[in-house]
Structures are given as structure tokens and as C-alpha cells.
């Protein structure tokens, strides 16, 4: 396969990605070609690398996200590009973000389970917004009374937040396990009951692991 041929595949891939305005998978890109001219997967992968470096020094870049490849404006130019749009970028409420976080990290999860952790009811609007944005979807129903829907995040969610997989989410902070909490509490309660300021031999900060 000569260079000219590769360059042509690269230009077609670039054209398709700019026409789609959304991510395309490697196979979707390959299927743009008729069978007799369809590049092998490895060739297509190589072409994507070529395209990536061809975008250096340009206003846009090739980004790999969950559902494939996307051409997007380089983040460093967002301040200028943002001036094109009169409307402020949308802000999301804490309630929505917390619900989304729970679905992302704890999927599949029911609304009731989300409410248990958040300690408040989750409004239907939040669930509807998340479903409409196609950030979450129903993946089944839990086999308990009422058969509540179980929610999970979608590829579109990952795409939107520039992630190629759930493992790219920021790590969840650690939690000290319950038994240890129990011991700690007992110790502290004991101290409180005995009504004396403890000589704190081991400060609490170090107990994290």
C-alpha cells in the first residue's frame, strides 16, 4: 500500500468525521468503502494515527472516545470559539450531577438505591433529562417488588465527557470500612463518656488507607 493511497484513505476518513460531527468507530469508517477497496482494520488504525499527527498545529484534533473517533476543536482554543455562541454553556445542577455520578460509578442502580445514598428523593425531571440527553438508559428491572428500572450510563455519556471508557472516570475516594469505623467510634465514645480530653496518641488523619 503506497503513501498516496494511505493519504487518500486519510482524507476520506477526515471528510467523514467532519461530515458526521460525532464519533465514528473504526468499522463505521471502514464501511464507507466498497468491499473491494475496504482497508483492513490494521490499515485503518494506521491511517488514524496518520490523521492524528496531521492535525498537529491545526485548530482541531483527533480524539478517541467511547464510541470511536471524533474530530474536535482543540481545548486551548475554546476561549475564542466560545465567543461564537451567545448562550452560556449549560450548567448542571448538583442534584443532577450527583445522580449521574451514582449511576456512573454504581451502575446498574435503581432510583431507590440512588435515593438511599443521597438521602433525598430524586426528581423525575432529573431522570428524564438524563434519559433525554442519552447519558443514561434503562438496562433492566430489579427483581424486587415494583420491579424498579435499573439505570446505566451510555457511550454518549462517555463521549460527551471525553472519556473512552468508564475506567477513565476520576477514581472514587476510598471509604474506611464499617468495622474500623465501629472501633474508632467506640474508642471516641469511650473517651467522651469518660469525659476527658484524650492524649491523642494516634491522630485520626493517619488512619486512612
Amino acid at each position: 500500500m503506497n503513501e498516496e493511497h494511505l493519504l487518500r484513505i486519510q482524507a476520506i476518513a477526515e471528510a467523514a468525521l467532519l461530515a458526521a460531527g460525532k464519533p465514528l468507530s473504526l468499522d463505521q469508517l471502514r464501511e464507507l468503502f466498497t468491499e473491494d477497496e475496504r482497508p483492513a482494520r490494521q490499515v485503518m488504525e494506521h491511517v488514524m494515527m496518520l490523521l492524528e499527527s496531521a492535525c498537529e498545529n491545526r485548530g482541531f484534533e483527533l480524539k478517541k472516545v467511547a464510541s470511536g473517533f471524533r474530530l474536535q476543536i482543540r481545548e486551548e482554543y475554546a476561549p475564542w470559539v466560545g465567543r461564537l455562541f451567545e448562550e452560556r454553556p449549560q450548567r448542571y445542577s448538583r442534584a443532577l450531577l450527583e445522580t449521574l455520578a451514582l449511576i456512573a460509578y454504581r451502575q446498574p442502580i435503581t432510583r431507590g438505591e440512588i435515593e438511599d445514598i443521597r438521602g433525598v428523593t430524586v426528581s423525575s425531571n432529573i431522570i428524564r433529562t438524563l434519559l433525554e440527553r442519552e447519558w443514561v438508559r434503562v438496562v433492566g428491572h430489579r427483581d424486587v417488588p415494583g420491579r424498579p428500572a435499573m439505570y446505566a450510563t451510555t457511550k454518549q455519556f462517555l463521549d460527551y465527557f471525553n472519556l473512552s471508557g468508564l475506567d477513565q472516570l476520576p477514581p472514587l475516594s476510598e471509604v474506611r470500612d464499617l468495622e474500623e469505623i465501629g472501633r474508632e467510634i467506640e474508642k471516641n465514645m469511650q473517651a467522651e463518656i469518660e469525659f476527658e480530653s484524650p492524649k491523642d496518641d494516634d491522630s485520626n488523619e493517619q488512619t486512612l488507607h
Binding site: 471528510a15 468525521l17 467532519l18 461530515a19 458526521a20 460531527g21 460525532k22 485548530g59 482541531f60 471524533r70 474530530l71 474536535q72 476543536i73 481545548e75 475554546a78 470559539v81 454553556p89 449549560q90 448542571y92 448538583r94 442534584a95 450531577l97 450527583e98 449521574l100 455520578a101 451514582l102 456512573a104 460509578y105 445514598i117 443521597r118 438521602g119 433525598v120 428523593t121 463521549d159 460527551y160 465527557f161 471525553n162 472516570l169 476520576p170 472514587l172 475516594s173 471509604v175 474506611r176 464499617l178 469505623i181 465501629g182 474508632e184 467510634i185 471516641n188 465514645m189 467522651e192 463518656i193 469525659f195 480530653s197 484524650p198 491523642d200 491522630s203 485520626n204 488523619e205 488512619t207
Partner: protein, 275 residues
């Protein structure tokens, strides 16, 4: 987030015995936070400021620089009750969850006052441990939500790149829509929004709203046009009335401004915020 540095100075107004109000990592604190007073209008946003009782508790705990594991239940309970009492006194509707939490706190507090019974069933969950577990769990996801909000995202930090299509061999087919489908969708919104009780939507005839759009698009540049030019006499009396009603509505919605430089002079109209 807070400016309530609890200073280790005694406060006479508090409990007669000088027991510490709070222990922060073992160090006793004996005075009250000064910012407990909430101005009435701040109360109005109180319920929106917190994402529920766990969030409020976390706030109270953090405000005192307490560690979750080291929570002084008595003090936190007292502050929590103060907030709840203030909200209730203002007759704001309080979500039931807040009251459930109040009961839980009260229970924990009362248990702590009782001497510990060694014989107590080991299987029973210590309510304080359970509360701490929940607080920790909630805090993790509160943090996770903040992390997600920080991620670079489309339409804010990233924009997808797209280019115009050239002349294409065949035009892109659009989905078909049945008018009834759209009306059914509208019915759904109306039921949700309970708009039937609001006259706002029904007040103007649709022909008026259509004319409002038409007038606005005539006024798109920043120029004044004469009032008369908004009317098309060929449309007859009814058409003129529709245009007139549309103009009035646009004035009322503050979408256009009408100017007359002198008495009986020509009237000019322009969009208040032309594109």
C-alpha cells in the same frame, strides 16, 4: 466556604457547666459558631442550597473542621435542629427526609447518654456507625459529582468539529412526522406543566403569535422602521388588527421599542435587541 472559626473562648450564654461543646480532634471547643443566625431571605434559598439532610450534616461538620469519624453528635444535633427549627418557623415546607434525620440524630444522642450495655445484641447496627457510614458514602459521591463537573466536556470545553456538506449525490432523508404526533407530544408537556390552569398560553390567538414572529424578523437589523410599514392594507381590516395586536404584545413583552420623536410625528419601531 465558611468563616466560622470557633475560638476557644467561653460563652456565658451557653450551658451552665463548662463542658466542651465540641471536640475537634480531641481539642475541646466551648463556644458557639457565630453564623448560626440565618437571615430570613437566606432561609428561602436554604432548601435549595442543600441536597438533603446528609448534605446539610456534612456542611455542619465541615464548618467545624470536624472529621466525620469524630463527629460530636450532641453539638451537630443541636445545630441541625436549629436550622430545621428556623426553617419551620418561617413556614417553609420541609422535605420529610430532614425530619427523619432529626429523629435519627435524637436517637443517637439519647443512646450516647445511656451507659453502654455490654450485653447488647451485637448484631444490632450501631446507629452512629450507620450514620457515619452514610455520611462517608454520600461524601464520596458528592465529590465524584464535582469531579465529573470538572471533566472537559462538549459544548463547554470541547466543541465537535464539523464541516459543511458539498453537493451530495442524494439528499439526506429526514424522518417523517405526523402532525398528530406533534400534538400528542404537546399534550404530554401541557399535562406535565399543568398549563391548562395558566391562561398565558391561550391568551393570544395563534395568528397573533405568528404575526409577532413575522414582525420580529422584519426588525432584525438594528434599524428603526416606520410603524405604518408593519401593516399590509391589502390584508384587510382583520389583517391590520392582527398586526396591531401583535405589535402591542411585542411591546408588552418588551421585545420591541416604539419611538415618537414629537407629538403627532411619525412613529418608529425597532427590536430591543436586534441580532
Amino acid at each position: 466556604m465558611d468563616d466560622s472559626e470557633a475560638t476557644p473562648v467561653a460563652d456565658e450564654e451557653e450551658t451552665p457547666e463548662q463542658s466542651p461543646l465540641a471536640r475537634v480532634s480531641g481539642k475541646p471547643f466551648v463556644d458557639l459558631p457565630k453564623d448560626l443566625y440565618i437571615p430570613p431571605d437566606a432561609l428561602a434559598v436554604f432548601l435549595e442550597a442543600f441536597e438533603g439532610p446528609l448534605d446539610l450534616l456534612l456542611y455542619l461538620i465541615r464548618r467545624q473542621n470536624m472529621d466525620i469519624l469524630n463527629v460530636d453528635v450532641s453539638e451537630i444535633t443541636r445545630q441541625y435542629m436549629d436550622y430545621i427549627g428556623a426553617v419551620e418557623a418561617m413556614r417553609f415546607e420541609l422535605a420529610a427526609e430532614y425530619l427523619v434525620m432529626a429523629a435519627t440524630l435524637a436517637e443517637i444522642k439519647s443512646r450516647m447518654l445511656l451507659p453502654r450495655q455490654e450485653s447488647e445484641d451485637d448484631d444490632e447496627v450501631d446507629p452512629r456507625a450507620e450514620l457515619i457510614r452514610r455520611l462517608q458514602q454520600y461524601e464520596r459521591f458528592k465529590k465524584a459529582a464535582e469531579d465529573i463537573d470538572e471533566l472537559p466536556r462538549l459544548e463547554r470545553d470541547n466543541f465537535s468539529a464539523s464541516a459543511a456538506l458539498p453537493k451530495m449525490p442524494s439528499s439526506q432523508p429526514h424522518p417523517d412526522v405526523d402532525l398528530r404526533e406533534m400534538l400528542l407530544a404537546l399534550q404530554g408537556v401541557l399535562q406535565r406543566a399543568d398549563l391548562f390552569t395558566s391562561h398565558h398560553v391561550e391568551r393570544e390567538k395563534l395568528s397573533t403569535r405568528e404575526r409577532m414572529s413575522a414582525i420580529l424578523s422584519v426588525l432584525r437589523d438594528d434599524h428603526f422602521v416606520t410603524f405604518e410599514s408593519l401593516f399590509t392594507p391589502e390584508e384587510g381590516k382583520l389583517g391590520v388588527v392582527v398586526s396591531f395586536l401583535a405589535t402591542l404584545e411585542l411591546v408588552k413583552e418588551q421585545l420591541i421599542e416604539v419611538v415618537q420623536a414629537e407629538v403627532l410625528g411619525p412613529i418608529h419601531v425597532r427590536a430591543r435587541a436586534a441580532s
